[in-house]
Amino acid sequence: MDLFEYQGRALLARHGLPVLDGDVATTPEGAREIATRLGAGVVVKAQVKTGGRGKAGGVRLAENPDAAASTAADILGMDINGHTVRTVMVAAAADVVEEYYLSYLLDRTSRAFVCVASATGGVDIEQVARETPSRVVSVPLSADRGMDVESARDMVAAAGFPNHVADQIVDIAIGLWRAFVAEDATLIEVNPLALATDGMVRCLDAKVTIDDNASFRHPEHAGLIDRTVVDPLERLARERGLPYVRLDGQVGVIGNGAGLVMSTLDVVAQAGETLGVGPANFLDIGGGASAAVMADALETVLADPAVRSVLVNVFGGITACDAVAEGILRALDLIAERGQPLGRTLVVRLDGNGAEEARRILLAAAHPCIERVSTMERAARRAAEIASTAGV
């Protein structure tokens, strides 16, 4: 889960890292109150989970509380790369003398972590790395050693941080690493890390991603989930514990196993290319899907008004296909009981363990909304054809 800047900032502050004083507001009046409390000049920053805020005009200085309110009025509601600004952060403005860069991230290849640092910050670090690679250092960090004083001193020297901030950078680097581990983060990026006229180095921005798999040991992270912008169908799926991603096509997809479902989306996209249709969603019902799970899945997919046909693609492994076929039939009954019209055709492809028995079950049921197709490619083509001709 990616955090908003203000959440990342609060997380760093909780771990004792130096950040600017500030707070969040959702109204111009709220921004004015924060600016009044902070006194002096403030910076008003759009809170969106995307880059390029500055360029889009989503980060601006305001000299007094009135200016903070009018700036917040401008920024709230702004669209930045498709993200609507619903919250602004109002923080004390810093008199920045120098800007640096520091981040920790997961490195899949080395199965470990890496610290990326540069004495040139406040700009796109990938651009710095391309144009002047000598200014960016990457320090590999194993999970068991991490960033200790010695490696932090080496990093500071290698990145060419000026002597007058070296001790502060070492402290911040170690503090950030501790926060990174304690919070089960997969990314903490501070850009810029800035030296102000008062001689202090502070984290002026915080981009943080935390590992959803670690939620069992971080009950407090539940409060960080952004419930405002989540697609209503994705929210429904999440409540039901179904991995679901909404896409913009017309063929609803339900399958078992992440790889098989991704593959199904691709095959639907290929089949639908010339027909002008594509996959409407990713939905993985997992290994041992019961009838209730299948009903939840079908209901979620059918709740998308763009869906004109549904492709159920299951490979029977430990859960045999006959159980899946029974599950589909019971799911259709459940949906009927819940009073929802189906109104769309299910193209069903069941292969593997118990496929023959499943064929007999579906044949006997002769459900008017179910079409059986024997291979994944043909099923995808059939579902795409139906979606391209079905009326909405």
Binding site: A112, R145, D211, A214, G317, I318, D351, G352, N353
Partner: protein
């Protein structure tokens, strides 16, 4: 031969007495796997009965190995305790640890990897969040369904469980030497490259099927390895062309970040290395069939 797992492999199950552990221990026994023991510190001295077979429960991996001569462990330990369980297996110097557990925090996977490295890397780790490994007709360690296919000369390595089963099913008449699900998490032990190297050295394997999916650079690195080191024909498939950037597609590691980790980049890299790429699982199976009948 098959790779890493044969009929003589002696296997223990960590977390054997839990619901998943019990269910899959019975399945593995039915498949002919030599399960010689399990571990659970609170139930040491008890047995799991399966037909006429009594499988002893030991307190620790070390004790189980000493008593049974086991060299393989399959782990069904819940995510919260999986790190400690893998580290226990590493410290006991087991040869192969297969981590079925899903939902493991990535810091925990990185931690047991660091531990394995420090311990000298004598334990091969497969997973986490993987279906395991099967050498059809010989031994099955993990949750790959039994009976899809029999022994043969195709080797398969995949990030995805169900795509593995799908390909095994489509090529069931050809049969497989060994099929390995390496898992789709961001940090995994055994990689595509490890499996490619082992299949290249395995006399029984005539062709290799490689299945990848979006996220990370493992497939690109595998492509380089294939170009430089693999002489056997490789048939490839990559899933996730339709995945939107920045969204996790089921597997924790299946995510396109910015411009990296895309299916297109992986397809191109593999194709450039001479891998025959299928556009669908079905086409991948047909390509493999073509290679095997030509071979």
């Amino acid at each position: 031969m098959a790779i890493w797992l044969t009929e003589s492999s002696r296997v223990i199950v960590q977390g054997m007495t839990g619901a998943e552990g019990t269910k899959h221990t019975r399945r593995m026994l039915a498949a002919g796997t030599q399960i010689v023991g399990g571990t659970n510190p609170r139930r040491a001295g008890q047995y799991l009965d399966h037909g006429d077979t009594r499988i002893p429960v030991f307190a620790t991996v070390e004790e189980a190995m000493a008593e049974t001569g086991a060299e393989v462990s399959v782990l069904f330990v819940p995510a919260a305790h999986a790190k400690a369980a893998v580290i226990e297996a590493i410290d006991a110097k087991i040869g192969l640890a297969i981590v079925i557990t899903e939902g493991l925090p990535v810091h925990d996977a990185a931690a047991f990897w660091a531990h394995a490295t420090r311990a000298g890397n004598h334990t091969r780790i497969i997973g986490p969040n993987c279906p395991g490994i099967v050498s059809p007709g010989r031994s099955n360690a993990g949750i790959i369904p039994e009976g899809i296919t029999g022994p043969g000369r195709v080797g398969l390595v995949s990030k995805s469980g169900t795509l593995t089963y799908q390909l095994m099913y489509e090529l069931h008449d050809l049969g497989f030497s060994t099929c390995i699900g390496i898992g789709g998490d961001p940090v995994i032990g055994t990689t595509h490259i490890d499996a490619l190297a082992a299949f290249e050295d395995d006399e029984e394997t005539a062709a290799i099927v490689l299945i990848g999916e979006i996220g990370g650079e493992a497939e690109e690195q595998a492509a380089t390895f294939i170009r430089d080191h693999v002489t056997k024909p490789v048939i490839g498939y990559v899933a996730g062309f339709t995945a939107p950037p920045g969204r996790t597609m089921g597997h924790a590691g299946a995510i396109v970040s910015g411009s990296s980790g895309t299916a297109e980049s992986k397809r191109r890299a593999l194709e450039a290395a001479g891998v025959r790429m299928g556009r669908t699982p079905g086409e991948t199976a047909r390509l493999t069939r073509g290679v095997m009948s030509a071979g």
